[in-house]
């Protein structure tokens, strides 16, 4: 019961968060320099055309009227019409979202697959050559910009060795795994570097903890100590970090999707910003906010399950 209550509380807390996100994004978009009517009509349009478009978009109405309209429409599931795509914002986002979610889940899975075992190896070999090599390689990954790693992978693995396609996203599930491998690795390299460092530190800390030493003294087999005591406890802080890095990962898709020509919401966001497509920017930001909030919620729930102390508090 306590778990259900906790979940409900967390869900209710999300409402003010979304409201705040809506206010901030509404104001931020309107603070951007550049008139959306000019962006739509193009440089060649006359001043009369611009005025007509502003009127049609409702941009001449007072700010609070525009916000009220945005809020009430959004609550009814209407995110407006995209100026750039000439279609309902919701349809545009729904068409593109699965690709980005696929990319994000793929990248996170790869991050865990890369970071988990390596952090373990580094931690139990602390200070030895294995530890040094792993940390040095990840340091390089962490210090290089995402787009540069992407271009390097494209140039060598796709264009020269032809092991992977340069762009696109495939049709079937397996095809998608193959097409999105390079973009996912690009995003995963950065995330896994952070995860690896954190997990390594956490494992080292737990290895030194008294209850682990006690377990050793009791004569428990090392595999049981690592599995039951070390890993579970070291994961708590890493799960939090994993949740936080989803936000980072979402911003990573903006760049990755552009470099790898993946038609997801990250690339759509860039296009929307350049075109000053207010409804689409608002809709996308809200979508990102919902996604990130859901991930945080899941992180909390998972952490709650891992760490009984949180349930008591």
């Amino acid at each position: 019961m306590a778990g259900v209550q906790y979940t409900l509380n967390r869900l209710v807390l999300m409402i003010p968060t979304f409201l705040l996100v809506m206010i901030i994004i509404f104001l931020l978009v309107r603070m951007l320099p550049g008139d959306p009517a000019v962006a739509i009509a193009g440089d060649k349009a006359s001043d009369a055309d611009i005025a007509a478009i502003r009127d049609k978009l409702g941009l001449n109405a007072p700010l609070w009227t525009q916000f009220w309209l945005f809020l009430t429409n959004t609550l009814q599931g209407d995110l407006g019409r995209s100026i750039l795509m000439r279609a309902p914002v919701l349809d545009v986002i729904i068409a593109r979202l699965p690709t980005t979610i696929f990319l994000a889940v793929y990248a996170i899975s790869l991050s865990i697959l890369i970071a988990g075992p390596l952090a373990f190896i580094a931690a139990i070999n602390r200070g030895r050559w294995q530890d040094n090599v792993i940390r040095a390689v990840f340091q390089v990954g962490l210090s290089m910009p995402v787009f540069y790693i992407g271009l390097l992978l494209l140039t060598f693995l796709a264009a020269q060795l032809r092991l992977f396609p340069v762009g696109g996203f495939g049709e079937t599930f397996l095809d998608r795994l193959y097409h999105l491998f390079l973009p996912s690795v690009t995003v995963a390299l950065y995330t896994s570097a952070i995860l690896m460092r954190n997990l390594r530190a956490a494992i080292i800390e737990v290895l030194d903890a008294e209850y682990v030493q006690f377990a050793r003294a009791k004569g428990l087999p090392p595999r049981l100590i690592l599995g039951r005591h070390v890993l579970k406890n070291a994961l708590i802080s890493t799960i939090t970090l994993l949740g936080l890095s989803i936000g980072q990962l979402m911003s990573g898709t903006l760049v990755t999707e552009t470099v790898f020509a993946v038609p997801g919401v990250g690339r759509l966001m860039l296009e929307a910003i350049f075109a000053r497509d207010y409804p689409l920017i608002q809709g996308l930001t809200l979508t990102f906010a919902v996604l990130v909030s859901l991930v945080f919620l899941m992180t909390d729930l998972f952490q709650n399950w891992l760490d009984p102390r949180m349930r008591l508090s």
Binding site: P33, K44, M85, R86, L154, P165, V166, F260, A261, F274
Partner: protein, 532 residues
């Protein structure tokens, strides 16, 4: 103007002969061309196309009554096999070609022409209606079309070869779902399929921002060198790849056959690749920078650029050849006409237009009394490597004049707003003609009532009067003379920093033949074939 009937067939064959040089038996039929684009189409409808990625594709799906020749300087027949202009210039008679069909096999009729031109000149619909403002009525009797004008319009024939007057099927349009023209247009585009246009292809697939597919129109009227109907290809598949480097990689990896908008820094490298033809197609694209000519800036301070001599001085102090070397790696040429590219009709060759002359520039600023250390802001596009290079070069080139050039980086939408409000000193800009007539670019750059002479605020009564007179001058010689005078006035007043012309850089796989991008930017696929 004397009645002029054109031997359209002859002109057409001459123009197209220069376009393709392969012999008939070398032509392979079939296959799909894979094309990497920098940006996707949103709505390819003749009257609603307002961005280049839309405009440049209209011709593949829809035919016009006339069409530009291969070099973009003349007109040849397309759906109309002949045309005639009356002596008073107020009536244009055209005869529809026998055998011109829409992509579902139904014939193109006079009714379709009346319907399409009616849409094109309706100011409540698309943004291009103004181009047909002289037209008072369009009538059809069988294959004979009569266009009546309220006043003579020397640009009208060019407009009939422009994307916005392309012919759509009335039957297909009427049958489409939707409450109004916009909704019907969007529904037709979303659905695709044959029957709407009479171009060499029809739209057969579209995914917003991702891909687009054209399929061959089996009823297209044109024939190739082998005497068989065009197009040679079965279809064209477009992929949208906004990143320059990825587009090039796709081509070199063999995943696409054509990549457009190749960065000029990569041209030499691709040119050296034996598997790739690196094409630099002549274009009407010019790169220039509008100069604010108003007496005061928007913040109320005195504007040093209001003095014509200062504007002339910075033009003389700008080494265009050096800029071309830095930005385009040599793949360009200095502007030779102040208001248009050399590929635009009626362009006067005034080269060298403000050839590099630092001594003259220094004398002009001294005469104008420009204070040393005068600060001038160059507004550039954030993230544009070209603009960054231009700024760094101009800062050095103008320093000897005592000008401190500072950069202000903004995005495209902000630059557009600044241009309209006059909140700038100088900003980078570019232009490509949409219309096969010099009136559009000249009106844009110099005629004050259109757009305050590209936002510069330059308002010259003599220029404006010449422009208005040229808009109804049917004598080609007199019109050419008016354009010549306008170019002289404009060059002397220097409301722009005159920079350079750039070609369209398109890299094509060696197995592709017959691809063309016209000086207006239109992508032409009808004669493309793939070597097996």
């Amino acid at each position: 103007m004397k009645a002029a009937a054109l031997a359209v067939g002859f002109a057409l064959s001459t123009a197209l002969g220069s376009l393709t040089i392969q012999t008939a038996d070398a032509v392979e039929r079939g296959g799909t061309l894979n094309f990497a684009r920098y940006d996707g189409s949103k709505l390819v409808d003749p009257i609603y196309a307002d961005r280049n990625p839309d405009i440049w594709m209209v011709g593949s799906l829809f035919s016009t009554l006339l069409e530009p020749s291969a070099d973009g300087k003349d007109l040849v027949g397309s759906l109309a096999e002949s045309y005639e202009v009356s002596a008073d210039g107020k009536t244009v008679s055209l005869k529809l070609r026998n055998g011109a069909n829409f992509s579902d096999g139904s014939p193109v009729t006079g009714e379709d022409v009346v319907f399409s031109l009616g849409r094109a000149r309706n100011p409540d619909l698309g943004p291009w209606a103004g181009l047909l403002s002289a037209v008072s009525s369009v009538d059809a009797s069988g294959a004979d079309i009569t266009i009546s004008l309220s006043s003579p319009d020397p640009a009208l024939l060019s407009m009939l070869a422009t994307f916005n007057t392309a012919i759509v099927s009335k039957k297909a349009f009427d049958a489409a779902p939707g409450a109004n023209d916009q909704e019907k247009s969007a529904a037709l585009f979303a659905k695709g399929g044959p029957g709407l246009g009479s171009g060499p292809f029809y739209l057969s697939g579209f995914e917003q921002g991702t891909s687009m597919t054209f399929s061959a129109n089996p009823h297209y009227w044109k024939e190739g060198e082998d005497g068989k109907p065009l197009p040679y290809l079965e279809g064209v598949h477009f992929q949208i790849i906004p990143d320059d480097a990825t587009r090039v990689l796709k081509l070199t990896a063999g995943e696409v056959d054509v990549a457009e908008f190749i960065p000029f820094s990569r041209v030499a490298e691709l040119d050296a690749d034996p598997a790739i033809d690196m094409n630099l197609y002549p274009s009407t694209r010019i790169i220039y920078s509008p100069i604010n000519t108003r007496d005061t800036r928007t913040d109320g301070s005195a504007n040093p650029l209001a003095d014509k001599r200062v504007r002339q001085a910075i033009n003389y102090a700008t080494n265009k050849e050096a800029l071309i070397g830095l930005v385009l790696q040599g793949a360009g040429k200095p502007m030779s006409s102040p208001v248009m590219s050399s590929a635009t009709r009626l362009a006067t060759d005034m080269s060298p237009l403000y050839g590099y002359n630092l001594d003259k520039a220094k004398a002009l600023v001294a005469e104008a009394g420009l204070k040393p250390g005068t600060e001038i802001t160059l507004t550039t596009l954030a993230g544009s490597a070209d603009d960054g290079t231009i700024f760094a070069a101009l800062q050095q080139m103008w320093a000897p004049l005592g000008i401190t050039l500072v950069a202000e980086q903004v995005d495209g939408a902000t630059r557009g707003s600044k241009n309209r409000s006059g909140e700038f000193d100088i900003h980078t800009y570019g232009w490509v003609d949409d219309v096969n007539d010099p009136s559009q670019v000249t009106g844009w750059l110099g005629y004050y009532p259109t757009r305050k002479a590209v936002g510069t605020g330059w308002n010259n009564a003599e220029f404006n009067a010449l422009y208005e007179a040229s808009s109804s001058e049917m004598d080609p010689e007199k019109r050419a003379d008016q354009y010549h005078q306008m170019q002289e006035i404009y060059a002397e007043a220097a409301p722009l920093l005159f920079m350079y012309e750039t070609p369209f850089a398109v890299a094509v796989s060696g197995k592709v033949d017959g691809y063309l991008q016209t000086p207006l930017g239109n992508n032409v696929f009808e004669r493309v074939f793939l070597e097996r």
